[in-house]
Subunit: 413 residues, 2 copies
């Protein structure tokens, strides 16, 4: 008998039939004697419908009022799931974020959880009820409704698990676990039994859509065992846990992540004086544009080239800023390139293994894939390459680091 927090996403509760399936699943867990807190998202499509309503009203909707509207999506789902459970004989009760209460800061649209009052939840659990909590939402100190941003329901689940000191937080999704890489790109990708918080964090920040970064951060910070599972298929999923809990046979590399969301900006012929990096990147950051990788070339003739990546959506704005900066500091030219992709290898095993980087570079060069930028962390190496080589690079690295499944796994998604 354990206390488990289970989170079901929008697709898992996207119709009356799906909600009924989720209810039966919960009934099964309840029959095993577990205490259950269920976090749900809005029914799939609902959040977009609500955003559409707001956009019809005005082009740039006020964010406080947007949160008032968006939070209704999850509120409908908690009511539906709770009434379904009651109708099949399982005592259940729904709670909005404000009712719990899940207190956040006042950053509407991207609020951060500050405190969870677990007393009411505990009392409902003690009374034998399944508690259904609206994901993605909270309330600030003044009683305003807030939302945590897209995918915030995962964070709600982890935060509740931390507050309640739950035995496990289970995230039910439309995949049956975390894979060594995207199975749509590499057929032989394998489901991982276990992965560390840190690795998951790198994978998530590198573009893996399985879990929200903030949820993984939160889970790592409070050491909440997190499990990714398929909503409607049986299976152990992938457990995300502390490094110490991993088996000794942990491979060097756990997975290959990639994304096509970035664009590369280069400013050439920059006079190489102290503080030039700040002069270039300061105005970009000031415009709230997030910078990912940065490379500065060695100086030649007292000038240098400066390259960095931003989200493709920000490319045009960044170029405008850079052109102004180039004039101010006397740089030669500004160039942008969006036909790039980032490929990363991730693994805590890197810490104790030398030569991982050179193995990666060698494998890529063997296929004539030119590396445009490199960035490393303790457990990750990322390279930027020409976008057209992306699939080839991922497959090459997947096999070079021996991640391919021993036999064809016909069960993966």
């Amino acid at each position: 008998m354990a206390l488990i927090v289970q989170k079901f996403g929008g697709t898992s509760v996207g119709s009356a039939e799906r909600i009924a399936q989720v209810a039966e699943k919960i009934k099964g867990f309840k029959a095993q004697g577990h205490d259950l807190v269920i976090v749900v998202s809005a029914m799939s499509g609902e959040t977009n419908r609500l955003i559409g309503l707001a956009r019809d009203i005005c082009a740039d909707p006020d964010q406080r009022e947007m949160d008032v509207i968006l939070s209704t999506g999850e509120q409908v789902t908690i009511g539906l799931l709770a009434m379904k459970l009651k109708s099949i004989g399982i005592p259940a009760i729904s709670y909005t974020g404000a009712q719990v209460r899940i207190e956040t800061d006042s950053s509407f649209g991207k609020a951060r959880i500050q405190h969870i009052d677990e007393a009411k939840l505990r009392a409902e659990l003690d009374a034998g009820k399944v508690v259904i909590v609206a994901g993605f939402q909270g309330v600030d100190g003044q009683g305003n409704i807030t939302t945590l941003g897209r995918g915030g329901s995962d964070t709600t689940g982890v935060a509740l698990a931390a507050a309640l000191k739950a035995d496990e937080c289970q995230i039910y999704t439309d995949v049956d676990g975390v894979y060594t890489t995207d199975p749509r790109v590499v057929e032989s990708a394998r489901r991982l039994e276990k992965v560390t918080f840190e690795e998951m964090l790198e994978m998530a920040s590198l573009g893996s859509k399985v879990l929200q970064i903030r949820a993984v951060e939160f889970a790592g910070k409070y050491n909440v065992p997190l499990r990714v599972l398929h909503s409607f298929k049986e299976g152990p999923g992938t457990l995300i846990t502390l490094e110490e809990d991993l088996s000794m046979e942990q491979p060097v590399i756990s997975g290959i992540a990639f994304n096509r969301d970035e664009a590369k900006l280069t400013i050439r012929g920059v006079p190489d004086t102290p503080g030039v990096a700040y002069k270039i990147l300061g105005p970009v950051s000031a415009a709230n544009i997030e910078i990912d990788m940065i490379v500065q070339n060695v100086s030649k003739d007292q000038t240098t080239d400066f390259t960095f990546t931003v989200n493709r959506n920000d490319q045009r704005r960044t170029e405008e800023i850079l052109r102004k900066v180039a004039t101010d500091i006397g740089a030669r030219e500004v160039a942008g390139d969006s036909a790039i992709a980032k490929v990363s290898i991730v693994g805590v095993g890197m810490r104790s293994h030398a030569g991982v980087a050179s193995k990666m570079f060698e494998a890529l060069s063997r296929h004539g894939i030119n590396i445009l930028m490199i960035s490393t962390s303790e457990i990750k190496i990322s390279v930027v390459i020409d976008e057209k080589y992306l699939e080839l690079a991922v497959r090459t690295l997947h096999s070079a680091f021996e991640l391919d499944a021993p036999e064809q796994d016909s069960d993966h998604i």
Copy 2:
């Protein structure tokens, strides 16, 4: 400069265009210097959509969870209207029932308002904001979301006006006021300038759909001047107020109400012993069936006939109960008739005028309309007639009591 509470129903906020129109209307009032609290319903169709979702989940949805779901309808509208106002430069803020806080009892689906905390609203008004409040909803002492029942937004408007001691509560609808009778039945029906709370109450309980009974009761109890107006047409509407505020020229009869919602049940040959009425009606009331009019015939041969009306939806259930009762008390037979209609004349003027009833009966008999049942109150006389004579009866009484418009009013709905 006045403090006005304005309530806009589901049709008035049924689309982005309508919400924009309402926002412009509010902007106009604000420009006149008024303090405004706006109560809104769910967008038209939304409440039915939400009920549909719940019905897809289970046949008999839990009422607490139903209220969690239903309350989202108004929550979306307050967000949309508040963001629209802000986008056209009017400071505005939305409040759910729980945020206000509008405290109710715990009768989910038909909760009654017990207390309104007006402090926050007052502070927002003092800060120059238009406050948008979700109608139809509240929160009980334990923090559960409640709803006031269909049409409850009118009640929210009146209750807020009472709590804030507003100068007027304006109910915007799809009609331009209260009419002497339904203009679809009598072309010469006139809009009333003023009508008393009591008269409005009788008309509402007799089937006039313009205002919710509870809202009128509430307004009368706290003497909140209530005005019914058209959402998108200019005009003074109808003011509902205390009797003392009416002009001296008040006519004897203010309006003719009618409905086709009732069925007539008769139990014949009942042994006329003390307590027999209770033996018949007790089991009906115990089954939660509301009884409207009751007539007991004079006794003949120690037996009597007993007739009463119930809502047509309850007719079959009532007949079943009566057949059992008839066996128990030794009555002869039970008969039901749904082809009836109720017509009522309403007016505070009745108090000071004799002969109103005989004038009514004479007018009906002149057209061969047989009266099946009669019921009277201080300011109302209702008769049950054969349904097929309904329109004729209404037109006859409308003209007999001189309610017809002096000339053709081409402006009414």
